[in-house]
Amino acid sequence: MSVPIYVPVDSAALALGADEVASAIAGEAQKRGIAIRLVRNGSRGMFWLEPLVEVETQQGRIAYGPVGPGDVKGLFDAGFESGGSHDLSLGPTEEIPYLKKQERLTFARVGIIDPLSLEDYLACAGYQGLRRAVSLSPAGIVQEITESGLRGRGGAAFPTGIKWNTVLQAEADRKYVVCNADEGDSGTFADRMLMEGDPYSLIEGMTIAALAVGATQGYIYVRSEYPHAVATLNRAISIAKDAGYLGSDILGSGKSFELEVRKAAGAYVCGEETAMLESIEGKRGIVRAKPPLPALYGLFGKPTAINNVISLATVPVIMARGAEFYRHYGMGRSRGTLPFQLAGNIKRGGLVEKAFGVTLREMLYDFGGGTASGLPVRAVQVGGPLGSYLPDSQWDVAMDYEEYSAIFAVLGHGGIVVHDETADLARLARYAMDFCAIESCGKCTPCRIGSVRGVEVMDRIIAGERNQIGLLRELCDTMLYGSMCAMGGMTPYPVLSALNHFPEDFGVAGERHA
């Protein structure tokens, strides 16, 4: 019997040398005449331990990490292929506290299975959701998703069931499902990990969405910075199609659904849903005026359900285990779990899927272990480049959409970027304006001109002109209330939160605002 040994193919693991480790293991095993079966899994999301190598033993999977190619000989000397102990031993993977304390529903299979093995997927509850969905009416599927309380994980947190219902009710000869995999927010990588580590869950979720709204064609719009995700999805789609999970007559339902990956081209604003539609249509990614809603007048003018990767990949578990099971997690109107991403200056960066209601302080310390630099944490940006900077006094607020909104902050796509005490919040505020100026689609003045002015004003503030603060606030007001989309409309979140909570960096100590 050959021993299964797991070495991740996740991009972050590759970036830390996972391929070199995999070939060293294969070479050493051959030299020693030990029969192994090398499996390239997704990542468990504990990136400070990557490359994390796991061995299947009678006691379950045993982890070793971080493993470098130079450690491989020693691991074999220690008999790691049968779970032998070594300096890099981490014990049973599932017992590592970082993983054990999580509630993995959307990420249940990521890091465990071979991403492209349909057999693995089916063995871990894969396609149970679709099986149930084909036995229901479209309205029945929509009702289940509505009752689960699932809200969009791409940023805006709009209830998914309500959106699907609008598309379902629309009369049209053709409808679409589009997956937004543009994941441009700094500090986020959940979409990437899921697409690289469990692509069938996204494909299954989109197929269920298609049955629910009556769509026959789907697109996954993936950012060009994610070549590995694109390759994995393309292979998974072709395997799923050969097995009858895509194409015509899905699972004997008589319904058909085709799926295609479309590669984006490096424009942050194309993550905005209407700009994304323009881009898929082959145009410049300029934001469309709403109404009409894309649910009614979307891709090529047809009703279109647009959802984020995580929203869609969560659909199968909801359908398989029921709305009640899912909504049992979370708090208030934030039901279920959110895959948080711990990034930046953090000791234990990675993916932490938890029910809503956890606090940032738990994330930073219980999971993250403080900063990577060892210096105190100073500011934490939650929710991507359009999210607020949170000071220590706000780290005990429950991570819930409404609680965050009450403190002028957002959860967004769940990205958490940690800065230590060397951070200069005025420079980060300037960066936020600059990013907006670079990425603005140019359609409306508050964003296009406002952001350029914002950079100038920030330059003057940084040069010591304190009388510019009033102007900065006015500019932020104009952008907040006058922009057509959240690009210009939310750039004031990082800027104003930095100014209000860290005024000393703007040369105005003592003028703290709420």
Binding site: A12, G187, T188, R284, G285, A343, V417
Partner: protein
């Protein structure tokens, strides 16, 4: 020149049938030729029934598309917030001493910042020393 014009026309014929064919076609051209030659706009416009101005407008809108050959190897360093918090500014300054660098905004490697791509291959926790050794390997 002639060869690439024929090849672009070929690719245009191959992708032209798709709804919204322009981006897939531009990707195909750049993936194969390393950039989108200036002569391409006219050929694409004809094949897809668009105006050359429209095609050029699309090419210039997207940061990913380039109309000139890239430096080799192509070095892209992430300059977004997470990588900034781990010293990407110093890395950028160091890298620019020896080669041309293209700033990018997030590679999805933010838990192992700072990050970069060299000819499409991801590298994480890139210190100036690691940068030098990656570049040395890329050159050999």
């Amino acid at each position: 020149m002639k060869v690439s014009a024929d090849r672009i026309a070929d690719l245009a014929a191959r992708h032209g049938e798709k709804p919204g064919a322009l981006l897939p076609l531009l990707h195909a051209i750049q993936d194969e030729m390393g950039h989108i030659p200036p002569s391409a706009a006219g050929i694409i416009a004809k094949a897809l029934n668009l105006s050359s101005a429209e095609v050029r407008g699309v090419i210039s809108f997207y940061h990913h598309f380039r109309t000139e050959p890239s430096s080799s190897p192509r070095v892209e360093i992430c300059c977004a917030e997470s990588c900034q918090s781990m010293g990407s500014e110093a890395l950028l300054a160091h890298a620019r001493k020896t080669c041309e660098v293209h700033p990018v905004y997030c590679l999805g490697l933010c838990a192992v910042s700072p990050a970069m791509m060299v000819d499409g291959k991801p590298h994480a926790r890139v210190t100036p020393e690691k940068f030098d050794s990656v570049m040395k390997k890329a050159a050999s």
